[in-house]
Amino acid sequence: MSDFLSMGGYAVYVWGSYAAAVAVFAWNLIAPRLRRRALRRQLHGARQEQA
């Protein structure tokens, strides 16, 4: 396990890259969801205010 984590001494570079990938994937998953929520509030919420 410690061999796996140390990646032959390249830990910072390898895990740094995978961490960057996780960040990019997370942003791509979260940003559209947040926008959809905002749209729902703005557009559906406005309708309810008009009604």
Binding site: G8, Y13, A20, A21, L29, R33, R36, L43
Partner: protein, 246 residues
């Protein structure tokens, strides 16, 4: 345009597209999970260490798919741009707009993972060789498309401007790809995307291809959601939007 099949014509209708995207996204999510899952296990655990770079080569499973995606997404975006400029189809405008931030994120990932790979192997985070420089320009092009979209108020005028930039910038895509052949670069030459047998071991190659496909299905998943959002916003005056968001 009588050569367009009926189903494609109907798909350009915003409510039809929305339903289509809703039905497709779960499958893309599943495919991404499976492909990325195998790619990660294969790349991090099953593939043997490289005889020169040791375990450090495993950055390839992030860097190369990200770089391929940076070019693929730009090509996709440029295709949408051509459709926008010629036929002015709203769906194409939304695809064009939605590709920019996603493509930028993959390009940034390619650059960052490349820097982290370069430091231990080349002894430097950066050099202004043709591959790295043209990929950085690709990032600027993506940011330019996104910036134009934000800056121009009218969505249709914004789409026209973005489409022009996307199409003009497309010249950079073959430049990035062939940079390692046309110039002397620190970045290595092609091992897979060339007209020859790949010069990489199969046990290293299969997880890489799986990651590339996983990145692609993930892009599809994200793109569909972003395009849905764009359409919902643009069509906000129409009743189908309120029904959909209920």
């Amino acid at each position: 345009m009588t050569w367009i099949p009926n189903w494609l014509h109907r798909l350009a209708s915003p409510p039809v597209f929305h339903g289509f995207a809703d039905r497709l996204t779960p499958w893309l999510a599943l495919a991404s999970a499976v492909l990325l899952g195998y790619g990660l296990v294969g790349g991090l655990a099953l593939a043997p260490a490289d005889y020169q770079q040791g375990e450090g080569f495993r950055i390839i499973y992030v860097h190369v798919p990200a770089a391929w995606m940076s070019l693929f997404v730009y090509s996709f975006m440029a295709g949408a741009a051509v459709v926008t400029l010629i036929w002015r189809i709203k769906l194409a405008e939304c695809v064009l707009t939605s590709c920019a931030p996603v493509g930028a994120s993959f390009t940034a990932l390619a650059l960052v993972s490349g820097m982290l790979w370069g430091k231990p192997m080349w002894g430097t985070y950066w050099t202004w060789d043709a591959r790295l420089t043209s990929e950085l320009i690709l990032l600027f092009l993506y940011l330019g498309v996104g910036g134009l979209q934000q800056a121009i108020g009218d969505p249709r005028a914004a789409a026209r401007a973005c489409a022009l930039l996307a199409v003009v910038g497309f010249v950079n895509v073959p430049i990035v790809h062939y940079s390692v052949e046309w110039w002397n670069t620190l970045h290595q030459g092609p091992t897979i995307t060339k007209f020859d047998k790949p010069s990489i071991a199969p046990s290293m190659l299969w997880p890489l291809l799986s990651m590339a496909l996983g990145f692609t299905t993930f892009f599809g998943y994200v793109l569909l959601q972003r395009v849905q959002n764009e359409l919902l916003w643009r069509e906000r005056g129409n009743p189908w939007v309120r029904e959909t968001l209920a």
